[in-house]
């Protein structure tokens, strides 16, 4: 394990590690200017900003392509390095439009942040700037502004090395070089927005996010993507108007540095306009709204009324909830209700086993594995869906409790299943989303608004068995309940709202936090 000294600080690195790796290892990546280096991509060595001085070498070297050797003495705070970086920054900027006021990247821009730290501050470029293409439509999700591009080649390397789809290239040479796709064909793979994330400037922006919020008006908090069983680690960006975007957070064990485009959209059902805001009781043509807790009490009443014959109470679970909730509801059913009629609703059996080779999985639930583990613990794993269907058909189900979807869009069989559920005398429907299909259910039905994964603390087990605990980040529908709370009401216990979101994430921070760091 070679040891070296960086800016006077001694550090031991893995054999083969570069000086840049050492900066990352010391958690000092912001102490070395760089654009083209990305830990998950090949080394390009083209931005020429990560200059370091190595004792005994008269020529400055780039940290990203220089392997640490034993006893190496490195610094990047000498005047020589500072001068090189200052001019390196300026070369990046001479043809850059400097249109930060209308640029979406402003506030999380590598150029801005690093200019503050390393900039020359006295621009001497007085010639005409190179004109390049603006507002280039790069497909369903990405827009390109070529003048802002600093040709770091991260996006090109991404489509070459990660997705291996090769849509992007750098065409022409010298200062006429531009990134793009062949003949403007769409950049249309399921990982395209990662190119926006890794773009250190505002050259690639997300069609979905652009012009919707200035980033310094957003807070962020750590969570996971609930879009499939991979459980990519993400940051959720929000303010009091709601959630605006998800971005991947690196986790080598789960998602590397990336997330898929489908997952990006999973913030949409979190927002109020897609949500069930109040409990809704419908019996025939009569519709009544009430606060969620009252709705839960009504549901508890229905369960109690059917409980005379425990067999007439059944529970359907989807893979959308946390371990803690499964444990609460299943144990409540077993112990308090006395029913073992607990069933697993597999929402899309045809694609359940599919995997695209990168991250996206056909099991579109964050916690199928946690659900199956809970059912196994409580001996309900052998209950088959056919048993439930038979019971419903025979009219023996008095009250059916359905812990339904948090994301309705991944339940293509929603209508079909509801038609079957409607054969129960009464249905308790737990969901975070509002749906006309559910509203139209003919049997007596109470819908209770549930909290989403960003509004509660809970543990999710991904496809590989990795358990990830996430914390409440914000409250979008504050009165909504968790499955555990519903279990408490059904059991007649006091509702412990211990994990109620405080309205901010664990990483509560000033709304005007700059230096969010595009790297």
């Amino acid at each position: 394990m070679p040891k070296c000294t960086i800016n006077g600080q001694e550090i031991e690195v893995k054999p083969g590690a570069t000086i840049m790796d050492a900066f990352y290892q010391m958690d000092q990546k912001e102490k070395i200017a760089h654009y083209c280096y990305h830990p998950a991509l090949s080394i390009a060595g083209v931005c020429r900003l990560c200059m370091v001085e190595i004792e005994g070498n008269p020529r400055l070297q780039i940290a990203c392509n220089t392997v640490v050797t034993e006893g190496m003495k490195v610094n990047n705070d000498s005047e020589k390095v500072k001068e090189a970086v200052k001019w390196g920054m300026d070369f990046h900027l001479i043809n850059h439009p400097l249109d930060c006021p209308i640029c979406d990247q402003a506030g999380e821009c590598g150029l801005q942040d690093q200019y503050m730290a390393y900039g020359k501050y006295d621009p001497e470029m007085a010639e005409r700037k190179v004109k390049k293409r603006k507002v280039v439509d790069l497909g369903p999700r990405v827009v390109l502004d070529s003048e802002r591009c600093i040709l770091c080649s991260r996006c090109v390397r991404f489509t070459e090395e990660v997705t291996k789809t090769n849509e992007l290239g750098i065409f022409n040479r010298g200062d006429r070089a531009e990134i793009g796709t062949f003949e403007d064909r769409p950049l249309d793979n399921n990982y395209s927005v990662n190119t926006v994330d890794i773009c250190p400037v505002g050259a690639l922006t997300s069609k979905d996010f652009r012009f919707r919020q200035r980033v310094w008006l957003l807070k962020d908090a750590e969570t996971i993507c609930a879009g499939c069983s991979t459980g990519c680690n993400v940051d959720v960006y929000f303010n009091k108007e709601g959630v605006f975007r998800l971005k991947p957070r690196p986790n080598e064990k789960v998602n590397g540095h990336w997330m898929c485009d489908v997952g990006r959209d999973t913030y949409k059902p979190l927002n109020r306009d897609a949500r069930l805001l109040d409990a809704r009781l419908s019996e025939g043509s009569k519709v009544e709204y009430m606060i969620p807790l009252m709705g839960a009490r009504k549901a508890a009443e229905w369960v109690r009324e059917a409980k005379a014959d425990p067999k007439s109470v059944a529970l359907v679970l989807t893979g959308q909830y946390s371990n803690e909730e499964y444990e609460a509801i299943v144990s409540t059913f077993k112990a308090d209700v006395g029913s073992d009629r607990i069933f697993h609703w597999v929402n899309n059996p045809e694609t359940f086993e599919k995997f695209d080779g990168l991250l996206f999985r056909g099991d579109r639930n964050p916690n199928t594995k946690g659900l199956l583990q809970a059912m196994q613990r409580h001996g309900s794993l052998n209950n088959t869906w056919n048993e439930l269907v038979a019971a419903l058909e025979s009219g023996s189900v008095g009250t059916l409790v359905v812990a339904g979807p948090l994301d309705l869009s991944v339940f293509p069989d929603l209508g079909e299943k509801l038609a079957s559920f409607a054969k129960a005398k009464r249905v308790v429907w737990l969901s975070s989303g509002r749906s006309d299909v559910v509203d139209a259910c003919p049997s007596p039905l109470i819908q209770i608004p549930m909290r989403t994964h960003v509004e509660k603390t809970g543990t999710y087990v991904n496809h590989a068995g990795i358990a990830q605990t996430v914390h409440a980040a914000l409250a979008i529908v504050p009165k909504a309940l968790t499955l555990s709370e519903v279990a408490d009401v059904i059991a007649g216990r006091d509702v412990k709202r211990g994990n109620a979101p405080a309205g901010v994430g664990r990483r509560a921070q000033n709304e005007f936090t700059a230096h969010r760091g595009a790297l």
Partner: protein
């Protein structure tokens, strides 16, 4: 006096074809080499002091010594991309003596243990390309290439690869990228080509003249080869001379030859009534010499380095007093702007910036301070990039504006040339 070692028979048309080349002693050294120990050939090349003739002047034998002995297949590539402005000697060599190069390559490949070899030639060289193709075919037909060459058991395949118009493919890793079917962008070093080059396999890249010289190192022996030139700049070298002289062309002289004699004797001096203003001694990227410096210079690596310039590819551009130095620098800075591959930021942006400043001056839009700014920008482009193109673009700018500062200041102040009295011409405007 010219000393014709490589070029002894260049004036004979029959030297181009295999029969004529053989009749004049060709391929005798190959036969000799194939009976030698490989290491012995490498040692001789090392001892001869032969240095790379493409521009960098790196000792050839030392470069060969960087090949690792790891049993991996290795490649010998010949750099015939010749694109440094002012340089045309490789083209002449291939036109006059294609078999000289082929013989040098077979010997070198044998010494290095390479079984596959390419000649990468710039795409514009259609004429020389046809001549070389024909010579390669002749060599194959005569059993000089292919399997079991001259019954030695040594196999070598040699192919010609034509580029498609990019100066940067003369940089050895740019050339490798191009040969691999990519954009001709130089690769990060390390790894160096000797360790990981073509297809990430050990690779030696040598210039046309360098490889041809190997034949004569073997023919004349170390002492014979070193009989010409200086201690550190051994042997003879082909110089490409162009510009304002009466007899431009390719001349072979021993290294260390006085530049003054060269211009006055070999090149027939300047046009009547003209005086020498400047000389670019080693291709467009070599810093320009003033007339005074040029008349003191000798044509070897050390002397030109001591004058702050370099021997480079041996391309000498003679500039007389009829030329406006602002205009001359205009075409040079245009060249580097046009040829920058665009991957490293300081070069991509710097070459454009330099070109625009010079162009503004030429169009009468120069600003006070532009001269200093040119030097400042050029200084910051040196030693900052993957390859040397950025330095190559910076060096002429610094030397031109430093040594001929008055011409630049005048142009900025008056909006016209101090030499011609004119502003930009139509032709320059089109450029």
């Amino acid at each position: 006096m010219e000393t014709k070692i490589l070029s002894e028979h260049y004036h004979k048309p029959e030297f181009r074809a295999l029969a004529g080349y053989k009749a004049l002693g060709g391929y005798e050294m190959l036969a000799k080499a194939l009976k030698m120990e490989r290491q012995k050939i490498i040692d001789e090349v090392k001892a001869s002091g032969l240095r790379g003739r493409g521009g960098a002047g790196f000792p050839t034998g030392v470069k060969w010594g960087f090949l690792p002995n790891n049993g991996e297949p290795r490649y010998l590539l010949c750099n015939a991309d010749e694109s440094e402005p002012g340089t045309f000697k490789d083209r002449k060599m291939i036109e006059r003596a294609p078999h000289q190069l082929i013989e040098g390559m077979i010997i070198s490949a044998y010494a290095l243990g390479a079984r596959k070899s390419y000649i990468y030639m710039r795409g514009e060289y259609t004429g020389p390309g046809r001549i070389l193709r024909q010579a390669i075919d002749e060599a194959y037909a005569a059993g000089l290439l292919g399997g079991n060459i001259l019954g030695s058991g040594f196999d070598l395949d040699l192919d010609l690869y034509m580029g498609a118009g990019a100066y940067i493919c003369g940089e050895e890793t740019g050339m490798i990228s191009s040969l691999e079917g990519l954009k001709g962008q130089p690769k990060l070093k390390p790894p160096f080509p000797a360790v990981q080059g073509y297809l990430r396999k050990p690779t030696i890249v040598n210039n046309v003249e360098t490889l041809a010289s190997v034949v004569y190192v073997l023919r004349d022996g170390v002492a014979g080869y070193r009989a010409h030139g200086t201690e550190k700049s051994a042997g003879t070298k082909l110089f490409s001379v162009s510009g304002n002289v009466n007899r431009p062309g390719t001349y072979e002289v021993p290294l260390g030859y006085p530049l003054k004699d060269f211009i006055e004797q070999e090149c027939g001096g300047l046009k009547p009534g003209r005086t020498l203003k400047a000389v670019v001694p080693g291709g467009s990227s070599a810093p320009v010499l003033t007339a005074d410096e040029a008349l003191r210079a000798t044509l070897d690596y050390e002397n030109l380095a001591s004058l702050g310039s370099m021997l480079g590819s041996g391309a000498i551009i003679v500039i007389d007093d009829s030329n406006c130095m602002v205009d001359v620098l205009g075409t040079v800075s245009h060249f580097y702007w046009h040829e920058s591959c665009g991957q490293c930021t300081p070069c991509r942006e710097g070459t454009g910036w330099l070109h625009k400043i010079v162009d503004s001056i030429l169009h009468g839009r120069g600003k006070p301070g532009d001269v200093d700014l040119l030097v400042k920008v050029a200084d910051q482009m040196k030693g900052r990039t993957i390859c040397a193109l950025s330095d190559a673009a910076a060096l002429p700018v610094i030397s031109f504006v430093t040594k001929f500062r008055d011409e630049f200041e005048y142009y900025i102040r008056e909006g016209r040339s101090k030499v011609t009295g004119k502003g930009p011409t139509d032709a320059q405007m089109h450029h």
